[in-house]
Symmetry: C2
């Protein structure tokens, strides 16, 4: 509920070291819990239990639950950033980005954090800022690689393409998790035909 986090406003309260092994373990286990049971199941006590740790120890490294969730998010966001940077540097940037959107493991976390951000004001700003930054990077990528060809061939702008590909990727993931896969192969085929038409084959 508190708006302040990750700061040291209180005079005395001790906080565990940033580079502790235990701290890393806690972040690992929390990410695993979020993946398997959803963000709502990621309570400090549950994490402690699954990590074989004392609940208080979790709060020694992460004073509040929001601090813990934020740490998991930041690590995941850094990984996403690296994947997008790699896509940008590859010789097939657009297709690499499309593979990024289709990465289930990444999308799983991403979807959980969107849901989380919508319900947790303390975390929301960071997540939405990162989402905006990713979007901007993707737009730049499409502009650089596809240029005018995109608008001419499809009437789409780079920004529109980014929203659509991200949306399709998330839809494929969420529906598959639900157990619904009808139309998925066809949607993938459709997008890839689209990309084929846009990109000169090497």
């Amino acid at each position: 509920m508190s708006a302040l986090s990750s700061q040291e406003p209180s005079p005395k309260r001790r906080i565990g070291a940033e580079k502790s092994e235990t701290r890393a373990l806690i972040v690992d286990v929390t990410e695993q819990v979020i993946r398997e049971e959803g963000y709502a199941a990621a309570s400090t006590r549950r994490v402690a239990l699954r990590a074989g740790l004392n609940p208080s120890l979790v709060h020694y490294y992460f004073p509040s639950t929001d601090d813990l969730l934020l740490a998991v998010f930041e690590r995941g966001a850094a990984q996403s950033d690296a994947m997008i940077a790699a896509a940008l540097a590859s010789n097939e940037p657009v297709r690499a980005l499309w593979q990024f959107f289709r990465d289930d493991s990444r999308t799983a976390l991403s979807v959980e954090f969107i849901a989380l951000a919508i319900r947790r004001p303390a975390i929301r700003e960071q997540i939405s800022a990162h989402a905006s930054a990713m979007r901007a990077q993707q737009i730049a990528l499409f502009e650089r690689v596809l240029g005018e060809r995109l608008a001419q061939a499809t009437g789409c702008s780079p920004a529109g393409l980014s929203v659509i590909l991200a949306g399709v990727g998330r839809a494929l993931f969420m529906e598959a998790a639900l157990g619904v896969t009808s139309g998925h192969d066809e949607a993938i085929q459709c997008v890839e035909k689209w990309l084929d038409a846009l990109i000169p084959s090497p």
Copy 2:
């Protein structure tokens, strides 16, 4: 946790009437809570509090929380079915369906129930069955209205189109809830250009 619901396996336990006003109020309030605070906040006690009712009364009408959530889902699903039927009967069925996908109020519930279904085995089957049925209806609609033109113009199948439009609609909603809207207008424009090219204007 119990696999059986909505049945009367126990010999004596009383359950409130299906057509009770109080019951309808409970369903109303639950839907509202889900919309405003997410499915995870839809506890029977919280619903009772917001409805000004005794917690036990909620369990009088809905023995388990899953029963309550299922009732909300079923009402929402029926409304979705009606909207799709209306789209099918309209003189612009494809555009009506696209508007359905862009309906924030409907999508909000839909997204919550997908998330819910992924985590609650007792409810999952009904939700995934309904999602599959909606998909089938949409595919039939696209086949009937667009026929061969769709594949010729875009290389997409009706099933692929259904997945993509649903996905874009959900993405627009989720990102907007997060506070990210960059590229949204462009994505909408892109889809509508696409539909314009597919459908002969009257």
